[in-house]
Structure formats: C-alpha cells, structure tokens
C-alpha cells in the first residue's frame, strides 16, 4: 500500500515539474510586460513581487529656492516623486560613495554646508553662507521600491512602436485568407467525396502529396509570377489580395483534406435518398452537407486562421515591410533586431501578438485541438 502512495506522489511531482517548466517562460513574459521598464532592465521578473532596492540620482533645487532663517540659509524639498511609495535607505553625494550616509545622518559638504535626508525623501540643506549654485546638486540615493505594475508599455508599444497598426494588418491578412479557402475547398472536398468524375482518385492522391510539400518549394517561382503580374498591370507586386491568394494556395491541401475526410464520413443513405428525390448536388451541398459540417468548418477555420496569424515567411515575402503592410510576426522580428535590449517593447509586443491565439485557445479549446491535431500534417 505504501508503495502505491509513493508512486502517486512521484507521478504528481513529475507532472507538476513538467507544467512548471512549460509555463514559466510564458508567465515571465506576461509579468514582464506589466513592469516598469527601468526595473525590467535591471532585475529579473521573478523579483516583481518583491520590494526592490533601486539606485537613483536626483538633483536638489537651486539657489533661487533658498530661504533664510536666523541668519542661516536652507533649501528644502522632496527628492521622490509623489506617491511613488519608495523609501530611502541610504544616500551619497558623490558617485564614488553612493551609500555613504544612512537616512537622518548628516552629510557635510566641502563648503561646510549640511544635507540631511529622511526616509520619505524629504531633504534639508543647511548653510551659513547664501547658496549660489545654478544647477541643483546631485544626490545619489538607494531606495526600496514596492512592486508596481503599469500599462505604460502597452501604450508605448501599441501607439508609438507600430504594433497596433501591425495587429490590424495581420487581421486584414488573416480573415480573407481563412474564409476564401474555406469556401473554395468545401466545394472541392464535396466533389472529391460524392461526385463521379474523371481523374478523381488521382486528384485526391495529388492533394495528399501536396499536404507535405514544403512551402519553400513554391516561393521562388511564385515571387516571379507576382513580379510579372505586377509589372503587367503596372501595380506593386506585393499587396493584400496577393497574400490572400498565397495563403489560399498554401492552405488548400490541408483544408481540402480535412473537409473531405469529414464529408466522406457522412452517411451514404442520406445523400442517396436526396438524389432519388431529384435534388442536384448543389442542393445537397447547400441544404445537407453545410449544416452537418459546422463542427468540421469550425476546426478548419481555427486551424487556418491560426496558421495565417502565426505565419512569418509568407508575410515577409509577399508583403512590403512598410508600416501599412507589415504583419505582427514580421514587426516583432524587426524589433528583435533593432530594439533587442528593450525588453519592455519586446515582451509587450510579443504578448500583444499572442492575445488572439490565446483567446482562441482558451475559448474554443475543443475545436482548436481537434483542428490542430487533424491538420498538423500541413506542409
């Protein structure tokens, strides 16, 4: 009996280990996208929930703000931004000795004036002589900063970095690239399943073969066709309709294959009965097949939509890399090159690009898994 319990515990722990390893990278990205960009650059995301020690530089006010009391001169103020929640623990007046003084300990400057800083960032600078400095004195502080979350990264990424536009571009690519093949291939799949015509079996074998043909086999000739067509009509070779057609072409085999397998599995008697009643194949397709195939359509729709949404290669080759056409994945890749160290932009941008797939994943998991598993053979 003991052995059984031990096995159970091991199984639980092992699976938990897998789950943790699998979820941590994404979780780190998610948390980071809400962090302050300065903190993000200097400390790991796992410290987000801790109170962090930060080193910052501030300047005092200038001579204009001095007040005179009993023959002494004072400059008073607060170094910290209001409501920052930070607490000063130590400070210094030269960059070499940034932590020389504890709070409420007096720092004495060369000219005998004294500075004193308290925990909440308030400072008093006292001198026997009038102040003359025109730039504020630099003060180095070490402070404790409480966990803080912000939507600033999202604002910046969506509106300044062009991710918002790229998001719309991707949507412009993805919706027609999903609906067009779905319409065309459903007719094709029906013909392959229930109509008799010359060369049907060969055509189906061709579809099965096309399933695994690597995209790379088609790129160079297609690009030159696109260039020729563009030159012929004196328009740009790269355009949205061009990308829709390319995605239709590359998704054709898998969409047809999946729909055909489903439509073929519908009961023979039903279709025969309709034929006997004088219905044409077109009637049968509209009135019987489409209503019955809704779940299959849902799976295929999701599969193709996600494939297009996540695609990089087709978007790179058949669209211009300009703000009005660049898709999310291409934009992210560009940012990885140009802003490789700006993690606030990268993490947030990546997360924005994942919102739609993740939404589909959580909302339509059943169709999603069915579609992905059935369609995973796509070349």
């Amino acid at each position: 009996m003991n052995k059984n319990i031990l096995t159970k515990i091991i199984i639980n722990l092992l699976l938990l280990l897998f789950v943790v390893v699998w979820v941590l990278p994404t979780f780190g990205l998610f948390v980071s996208s809400f962090r302050d960009k300065d903190l993000l650059a200097t400390s790991g995301w796992w410290t987000t929930f801790n109170t962090n020690e930060v080193n910052e530089i501030y300047r005092t006010k200038t001579f204009e703000d001095q007040i005179e009391e009993n023959g002494k001169f004072f400059i008073k103020g607060n170094l910290l931004v209001k409501n920052s929640g930070k607490k000063v623990i130590s400070y210094g007046i030269t960059s070499k000795e940034m932590n020389k003084y504890k709070i409420n300990e007096k720092a004495i400057l060369k000219n005998k004036s004294e500075i004193e800083i308290s925990e909440n960032g308030e400072y008093v600078w006292k001198s026997d002589e009038p102040f003359k400095h025109e730039r504020g004195k630099r003060i180095f502080i070490t402070a404790l900063s409480p966990p803080k979350f912000t939507l600033d990264n999202y604002k910046e990424v969506l509106f300044k970095e062009g991710i918002g536009q790229a998001f719309l571009n991707t949507l412009t690519v993805a919706i027609p690239s999903t609906i067009i093949p779905l319409i065309i291939c459903s007719f094709f799949a029906y013909a392959l399943s229930w109509m008799k015509f010359w060369g049907r079996d060969t055509l189906f074998a061709l579809i099965v073969a096309s399933l695994v043909v690597p995209l790379q086999m088609c790129l160079i000739p297609l690009l030159s066709i696109y260039n020729d067509v563009g030159a012929l009509f004196n328009i740009g070779a790269k355009s949205y309709p061009g990308v829709w057609m390319a995605h239709t072409g590359f998704g054709l085999a898998s969409t047809t294959f999946l729909l055909r397998n489903f439509i073929k599995s519908l009961p023979n008697e039903m279709i025969e009965a309709a034929r006997v009643d004088g219905a044409t194949h077109y009637d049968i397709f509209l009135r019987i097949i489409i209503p019955l195939s809704v779940p299959a359509f849902a799976s295929v729709f999701i599969l193709q939509f996600l494939w297009v949404w996540n695609d990089l290669l087709v978007g790179l080759i058949f669209l211009d890399q300009v703000p009005s056409e660049i898709i999310l994945t291409a934009k992210l890749r560009e940012l990885l090159g140009s802003r490789g160290e700006n993690w606030e932009i990268l993490t947030t941008g990546a997360f924005v690009s994942m919102t739609v797939p993740l939404f589909i994943f959580f909302a339509l998991q059943r169709y999603f898994i069915r579609g992905l598993v059935a369609g995973s053979v796509k070349g």
């Binding site: 699976l15 990278p25 094709f188 074998a205 086999m217 000739p221 072409g249 996600l306």
Partner: protein, 327 residues
C-alpha cells in the same frame, strides 16, 4: 488601407466566391433543362464547376512552382542560363551549406525524438491524475502561439548580462545562483543549437501529447490490469506494454514533427539569423533569395534539398491513404 475599404474588399472577395458557385450552378440547371438528355449532361459538367477554382489555385500555387523550382535549380542566378549541376557542385563545397545540412540533421535527430518522448510521458502521467486535463491544457498552449512569439519568450529566458550585473534571463539567474559563470547561450557553437531546439520541443511536445493521449485511451484496460496483478511495476508496464502498443502513433507523430523541423525557419531567423553556426536550410534559402540581388538557382537548390527529405514521408502517406480508402 482604411478600415472601410478593408471591409469592402473582404466583403467583395467573399461575394465573388459565393456568386461564382451559385450562378454557375444556376446556369447549369437553367440551360440543361431545355436539353432533352439533361440529366447526364448536368452530372457530367457539375463536378468541374465544383473543382475548378480549387484546381486552378492548386496548379498555380503548388504544382507549377514545384516543377519550376526543380528546373531553376539547374539554372543560373537569374534563371535564364542553363548551368547543369553547377549549383549542386557549388553547394557540395560551400561551408555554410554544409553547416546548414549538419544542423538540420541535428534538429531531425533531437527534436522529434524528445518531443515524442516528453509528449508520451506527460500524456501517460496526466491520464492518472485528476488535474491531468489542466496540466495537458497548459502544456498544449505553446502550440497556439507563433514561432516568433516563442522566440521572444525564450530569448528572454536566455538573456545574458555581464558577470557583475543582476541577470534578468531566467536561465542565467539559475546558473549564477548555483555558483557558475553566466553564459551568452546563443553564441556558444553547437550548444546554441540545442538551446534553439529546446524552443521547438517546448512547442511540439503539446501536439505529441494530445495525439498520444487519444491513442492511450484505445489501450485495453484489461491488459494493463492483468500485468499489474502479475506484479509488473508502473515503469515495466510503460516500457513493455504501452510503448509497443503505440508503435504506429509514434511513427505518425515522428513524421509530423520531422516535416516541421525540415522547414524550421522562423525561430532561427528571429533568434540568431544563422550566426554562430546555427544556420539551417530554410533560413539559408531565404537568405539566398535576396542576397546579392537574389540567386534563384541556389535558392531553388536548397528548396529541393528540403523536398528530398520530405519525399519518403510523402510516399508513405500516399500509400497509407490508399490502404485507408480500400478498407
């Protein structure tokens, strides 16, 4: 493009699609009714109305390009001058190409094996626990996101800061906390390939897991019970009953992931762009499509090499479907 014109385009596209099918079918009904031998004519013509658009697209976007790519691989960089096997001879001597082939072989060896292995183990474990469904759902999640997105996620994990600084990459933070020196993982030849492969394994394990999970349910419970009564350990049951039973499923998963790995592109382009000896065929091909004004001969050759890797699987697939059709 503005939002209104976008919706207009989309709407028009879809209307054109539908009206083609609707009008051509109506026309067929209309004209053949006047004919005496209408029924046969209708049933002869209608299939071609159904298949025409898809067939035309198939020819333009898949069949013609495949033949053309094969032709181009024997032509010079502009595609106008026949050069025989010159491109292939060049490739055999090119160190970059050799590196890409070796790396692709490495990917082929490691990624399908480990993805299938982890997928099977997780599916098996999850089947036994009440929270298994949740676990499976979490592990499947990376399948939903793009390779580039996954690239960003993992680039963050692999991030490197100098030894004195606080590490913000998770991997280096762990390494440092264990008392070792932090490493710039992406720049260490050979090892960096493994770190890139880890990304693909992270993604594909979910797929393997879901397929295995379905297959596991097909194993007769009595068989496992019997083994358990005979005193077989969990591990023994797993290796001697489950794995042999899943042989065919393992083969299917292996082929799926193999095809994906042959074409691996996005991850490399986003993470290293082939630097530090991480070049792969698909990325090298993309490079040659544009390098020096583009070389369609060399680019095509690389596509052909990827294709050669796929052909055995293609033949196996067609055979399998022919058998399915018969039964």
């Amino acid at each position: 493009m503005t939002t209104t014109s976008f919706f207009l385009y989309v709407f028009l596209g879809i209307v054109v699609c539908f009206s083609y099918f609707h009008l051509s079918n109506l026309a067929l009904d209309f004209f053949s009714e006047k004919n005496s031998n209408n029924f046969s004519k209708k049933s002869v013509l209608r299939p071609y109305i159904f298949i025409a658009p898809a067939f035309i697209i198939l020819v333009i976007f898949i069949l013609y390009p495949v033949v053309e790519t094969l032709r181009l691989s024997f032509f010079n960089k502009t595609g106008f001058e026949f050069v025989g096997i010159k491109n292939y001879v060049w490739a055999a001597k090119d160190p970059e190409f050799k590196r890409a082939i070796l790396n692709n072989l490495g990917w082929l060896l490691v990624v399908p094996t480990l993805s299938a292995f982890f997928g099977l183990v997780i599916a098996y474990l999850a089947d036994k626990l009440w929270w298994g469904t949740i676990a499976k759902s979490i592990i499947f999640m990376p399948m939903a996101i793009s390779f580039v997105g996954a690239g960003v996620i993992w680039k963050f994990v692999y991030d490197y800061r100098g030894p004195g600084d606080d590490q913000i990459g998770f991997l280096n933070a762990v390494v440092v906390s264990l008392g070792f020196e932090p490493q710039a993982w992406m720049t260490i030849p050979i090892w960096n390939n493994l770190f890139l492969m880890a990304i693909m394994i992270w993604i594909q394990t979910g797929l393997a897991m879901v397929i295995f999970s379905a297959a596991l349910r097909g194993i007769p419970k009595e068989m496992i019970e019997a083994a358990r009564i005979d005193g077989a350990s969990e591990f023994k049951i797993f290796t001697s009953i489950i794995i042999p039973y899943l042989e065919k499923t393992i083969l299917v998963i292996w082929t799926i992931i193999t095809i994906l790995v042959l074409k691996i592109f996005d991850i490399i382009l986003a993470m290293t762009n082939g630097q530090w000896n991480t070049e792969v065929l698909a990325n090298l091909m993309y490079d040659w499509m544009f390098r020096g004004g583009g070389d369609s001969g060399r680019g095509s050759l690389m596509a052909i090499v990827i294709m050669i890797g796929v052909i055995p699987i293609m033949i196996w697939n067609i055979r399998r479907h022919k058998e399915d059709e018969k039964s």
